[in-house]
């Protein structure tokens, strides 16, 4: 009996010990992001998680609101000379870095110089730049060699690489070296001491931050922080993410698995929110250097065989979360057009078979890479394989992990020597808002994105698009670009889809735009 009472006392003590800790007084938003944050330098990788980290701690000169309009952010005003070759920008008053130092023009010039060495739009802007100089502490000037139509679009580019403003001492770090000082002037402060890679990333509210007065929209407007802390809790397993949200251990899942939405809808404590109405666009990419897709006729035959509804039904499966989009630009945006999209818009297997026969395809097996570990894209290649086989292609679908795929796609060798013919990926639609931002439309041969299309006419059109400041002309050129891109088949758009976030009911204030941002969010 004595033993039993002792055991009971021990168990009682253990039970007391395991009771939950008292909550701290501060408002903490716990979010499971779409990926683990590994690289902290937003000028070093195009990974979306690093971009999102950038928006936490840095600010930008301009932002893009939810209607795709560029709006001033750190900039108070700008003036353009009559010949449109000189742009003078004035920063808002009172901008400060996290360490209390003022944000100056010198910081801006150094930041833009570093960014332009990496970013395609930045690089293009610098091609037309004669000088970028600080005039005084709050004013800087951009002198162009000739009028350039995408100055504001470049400075307000919402996605990777984003022209974030860093302190000059940090921005002076060579572009091929990572920064190790994470001082910014954004709405949150990165808590480096609390960062546990693969476990937790912590941001504290930046009490020095002075938000704009306009309502938050996209990456523009007032970035008003309404919580004391944001914690990114790294949970990789989708089922564990769903369980943790149901149990209230986390407040938001940024990218839930599509399989989880049914359970979320049934849970009265959870709601589904779409902060990115444009969603994501999937594409099939050919290797233009290797047979048989070095032949545009073969690429066209393949495009005729592909079928967007089949891809989307199989991969996404929830009708309200996908839509066909027969445009290389995101649907419902300024440059959406159906010009040149007949082959993919009206899939016709007989026509594909006839085109393939005409092309002189010799039966060379094609290597199609399948990222087996990327759930939102793993089924696309299966559908592509089946459709291409029906058209008459010999397809060798090779399953691999995403990291192997991204390494392999950088190889220009023939498939037999470790190269490839086709891969499928998806981007946030915001990355394709115009033909300069969209890497898949770059046909600059060796400088083009993987697949390396090489077409002087397309490049000439892209250049013309970048030069003009007239929106009507730009729209017309964008159409011509799409028509040419589909004529040479740089890639094949295979549809758009959504990955809305899931949040506890008491979390409100999500900003509509292009991805999850953490200002304006509050907890009841």
């Amino acid at each position: 009996m004595k033993h039993w009472s002792r055991l009971a006392a021990v168990m009682l003590a253990a039970l007391c010990a395991v009771l939950p800790m008292q909550a701290r007084g501060e408002k903490v938003l716990r979010v499971t992001p779409h990926s683990n944050l590994t690289i902290l330098d937003p000028g070093w990788t195009t990974a979306y998680i690093t971009r999102n980290h950038g928006y936490m701690i840095y600010d930008t000169l301009y932002g893009m609101d939810a209607t795709n309009q560029i709006r001033p952010q750190m900039v108070e005003r700008h003036e353009v000379s009559k010949d449109r070759k000189t742009w003078t920008f004035t920063l808002r008053e009172g901008l400060e870095f996290h360490d209390g130092r003022p944000v100056t023009s010198a910081d801006v010039v150094a930041s833009l110089t570093r960014w332009a060495k990496r970013d395609s739009m930045g690089e293009m802007l610098m091609r037309y730049t004669q000088a970028l100089e600080a005039v005084d502490a709050r004013t800087f000037r951009l002198k162009l060699t000739e009028p350039y139509g995408l100055v504001l679009e470049s400075l307000g580019k919402p996605s990777s690489y984003v022209p974030f403003i860093l302190p000059k001492r940090v921005a002076d770090t060579p572009a091929d070296k990572q920064i190790d000082d994470y001082t910014g002037s954004g709405p949150f402060v990165f808590s480096k001491d609390e960062w546990k890679p693969g476990e937790r990333v912590v941001y504290r509210k930046n009490t020095r931050y002075r938000p704009r007065r306009e309502a938050a929209s996209g990456t523009a407007g007032g970035k008003v922080v309404k919580v004391d802390r944001v914690e990114w809790v790294i949970i990789k397993d989708p089922q564990t993410q769903a369980n943790a949200l149901a149990a209230g251990e986390i407040d938001v899942i940024e990218y839930p698995a599509h399989e989880s939405y049914a359970a979320f809808k049934a849970d009265p404590n959870i709601r589904i929110v779409e902060p990115n109405p444009l969603g994501y666009a999937a594409m099939l990419r050919f290797n233009h250097l290797q047979p048989p897709f070095d032949n545009p006729k073969v690429r066209r035959a393949a495009m005729a065989a592909l079928n967007q509804p089949a891809f989307l039904r199989t991969q996404i499966g929830i009708p309200e979360m996908y839509r066909t989009c027969f445009s290389v630009y995101p649907c419902k945006t300024r440059y959406e057009t159906s010009k040149g999209m007949d082959l993919i818009a009206k899939p016709d297997m007989k026509r594909a078979q006839a085109l393939l026969k005409e092309s002189g395809y010799d039966g060379t097996p094609i290597v199609l890479m399948q990222p087996a570990d990327v759930a939102p894209a793993a089924k696309f290649p299966v559908v592509a394989t089946q459709l291409l086989r029906q058209a008459g292609f010999k397809v060798d679908m090779q399953a691999m992990d995403w990291q192997t795929l991204v390494s392999r796609r950088a190889k220009k060798d023939p498939p037999a020597r470790g190269g490839w013919n086709i891969f499928i990926t998806f981007w946030a639609s915001v990355d394709g808002l115009n033909p300069i931002a969209m890497n898949a439309l770059n046909a600059g041969c060796d400088k083009a994105w993987f697949g390396w299309p090489c077409d002087a006419e397309l490049e000439k059109l892209r250049d013309a698009f970048a030069r003009t400041g007239d929106d009507a002309v730009r729209k017309s050129i964008a159409e011509q670009i799409q028509a040419r891109a589909m004529e040479i088949v740089t890639h094949v758009p295979i549809g758009e889809f959504q990955i809305p976030l899931a949040a506890r009911k008491n979390v409100t204030g999500f900003v509509t735009g292009y991805f999850l941002v953490f200002w304006n969010i509050e907890q009841a």
């Binding site: 683990n36 690289i39 979306y48 890679p197 693969g198 809790v233 950088a410 990355d431 770059n442």
Partner: protein, 313 residues
Amino acid sequence: MFKFLLHRLLATIPVLLVVAVVVFLLLRLTPGDPAAVIAGDIATTEQIEHIRESLGLNRPLVVQFGIWFGNALQGDLGESFFFRKSVAELIAQRLEPTVALALCTIVLAVAVAVPLGVLAAWRHGGWLDRALMGFSTLGFSIPVFVLAYLLIWLVSLELGWLPVQGYRRLAEGFGPFIRHLILPSLTLSVIYIALIARVTRAAVSEALTEDFVRTARAKGLPERRVLIRHALANAAVPIVTVIGIGLALLIGGVVVTESVYAIPGLGRLTVDAVLARDFPTIQGVILLFSVAYVLVNLAIDLAYLALDPRIRY
């Protein structure tokens, strides 16, 4: 004894050398380029090339190995390509969760499995024995992640007793620490309970047929004393061996459990590093695992000395 220890410790040096060379070469020969992973999906070939250059991945393999191995000999395992933290620091951050999970699991497994195995051997062929064998088969058969999800559903979501996921360090208090460890340890221990209980049952059953047990019983010793002092003590060597192997296997076995329960341990670090092709981190962790395996085996050999006086080194 001292000579044996010295000999065994010295023997770890060639083992680690071979491991270092093999792991280094395997990583370089398998597909995957860390620079491409770092650069992200939208990056161009040129941008990847810049990153590769800055990471020193364009240098000849021999030079890369020489630099890494030279630093490793001085205790510097290098810096993660991704986190820009030293590998030693990353490992140190992840060591506690894995060690805590492994120890908790093995303590739980031994505490449950050894008495069950002894009882099953004692009641050989009876209902307890059959129930244990049934449980054992189930324990071996049920995948760890299925059991984990079932336990989470029941204990965390339905009953709300324990957290679904995560880990709290001991420094944050014993309460949160143990609350976050109970379910993962329970999940992971089931297979080890099954394994250790079966081995214990077999070893004790065999010991119970020995003459010295018959003699002990003939002397009129109480059955509990016969079971523990005579049968279990003589069956200890195979049981300790399987516990040791279990502990060594646990180092690799925690991966699934750490993933399902989102425990930031070495298992997850290894998987993340492999998926990202973070060569320095993979090399560091595998070297550490190798040392751990060697030390666990050494500890088992030393335990034999204590358990069986006939064994001499």
